[in-house]
Symmetry: D2
């Protein structure tokens, strides 16, 4: 049995232009590598990453906090409306074999912590400096590390 | 934006041969109609329905109770390991625009009730006799009704 | 270590006067027996049962679907705002050593099914006729059976 | 209507002796102030804080990750077995009007982040240095701040 590896990009719903640009580049790079992308399904980094993935025909999943799948951004192929609120963050990171955090915000910090708690490898790009996160400084490096980590 | 309609087949992990045969036929019929199938991802009716869908190149999602995606049967393309236990039943029915219940069991009864509570149309094939469920007697009739209801 | 046994009363947010009267009587009876009462925390049967329990100095817990503890009725001492929506029903029945269902509604049916699935004893008073539920016809009988079952 | 204010102490299941001692002191201090204590219900900081609270006749709630209430430490009066895994962290912080983090660990970091995301005041004692957390250096100061913040 063969299932496409899933990787997560986590990041805030509001971010500056360079952060969004990086998220889109990483989403595209992961799609080119054949990885399925899961995000929190909303705006900002989540939307930019999903848009990047779709621009390269990648698959995109959105794990939404609310009960309405229409809250997903337009680049999410499969919206999962969990109704769990921020509790959905624990579910999101569990789906992924590796997690990339881009940008800040407390929701993103909770996802970094939950991923590390679950033993998932976490790569950071312009995000919280937490012990255990492998920090990179470019979108290219982020793609390279996530691809390597997801193949385990 | 266009997303594939998702429909759910709910039923027990253990069932007799005619029930499993019906579940497989319905899964195949729904795939032919272009619908994405979501189930609880485990054995019995869930596995038979997923196998039927895959036999016609349909897409299959499994909403698992545990934390391990490998608990999914082999016909599930996308396993979502929720870690919610039976609480995953509420999430499962929320994903679907229509629900087909095949066979019995208390888990299935809870899914029927949660679907009706959420205002989803529910079709029954050899299942609990609950007010609000539209009962049918053949796999063909089940496919026909679910296809009609999912287009709303 | 000794913890007070917890029992659940589940029932709809809207019910007729005799049903509400029965719920209040049962709540009072369970409190006299020294049992802690857990309900869904909202109105109707949930509120009547909680009021009955408080009228006899009993302890009351409310497992709420939303994120706001102030949604609890005034007779709930300890509101647990789960933010899980109807998914809270699975959590509610898990807390109880025995479950009493009073009146109808799909939410109540889901709680009966989830309780039976979890192996909890379920007593019914004017509720769904589900195999495995022990039906009684008076508030007195309901109290007697729940007290007996909770002592296991 | 008057409900006892609930405050949370979050911290790891394993900690050194000074950390556990501080947790016990804080638990006792909060109980003296009449606050109900909620923790994750397991060992380490959670157990020490609960023991401290009980030593002063305080009320203690444990929000457990698993489905078994007997996983709670012996000082938890009311164990809530959520079956949500680490997803229970979001539920835990939502119950509290203020959160005290003692010691480290990724689970604790996720709780700090989820609390800040939910707009709850967070006090830290020997814990992660996260923007938005009010750091204190003694158990006495921690009690004083939590009491002040919970009265809002």
């Amino acid at each position: 049995m063969k299932r496409a590896p899933i990787v997560a990009i986590v990041g805030p719903a509001e971010a500056d232009a360079p952060t969004l640009h990086a998220a889109e580049d990483v989403g595209a790079g992961l799609a080119i590598a054949g990885l399925t992308l899961v995000t929190g399904g909303l705006g900002g980094v989540m939307e930019a990453a999903s848009r990047g993935a779709r621009s390269k025909l990648g698959s995109t999943i959105g794990i939404l906090p609310g009960e309405d799948p229409d809250e997903a951004n337009g680049w999410v192929e499969l919206p999962i409306a969990t109704g769990l609120g921020e509790g959905r963050n624990a579910l999101l990171v569990r789906l992924a074999s590796a997690v990339l955090a881009i940008g800040g915000g407390y929701g993103t910090l909770s996802e970094i912590a939950l991923a590390l708690k679950a033993g998932k490898p976490v790569v950071g790009l312009g995000t919280w400096d937490v012990h255990g996160v492998e920090q990179v400084s470019t979108a290219e490096a982020a793609v390279e590390r996530i691809v390597a980590l997801s193949s385990h």
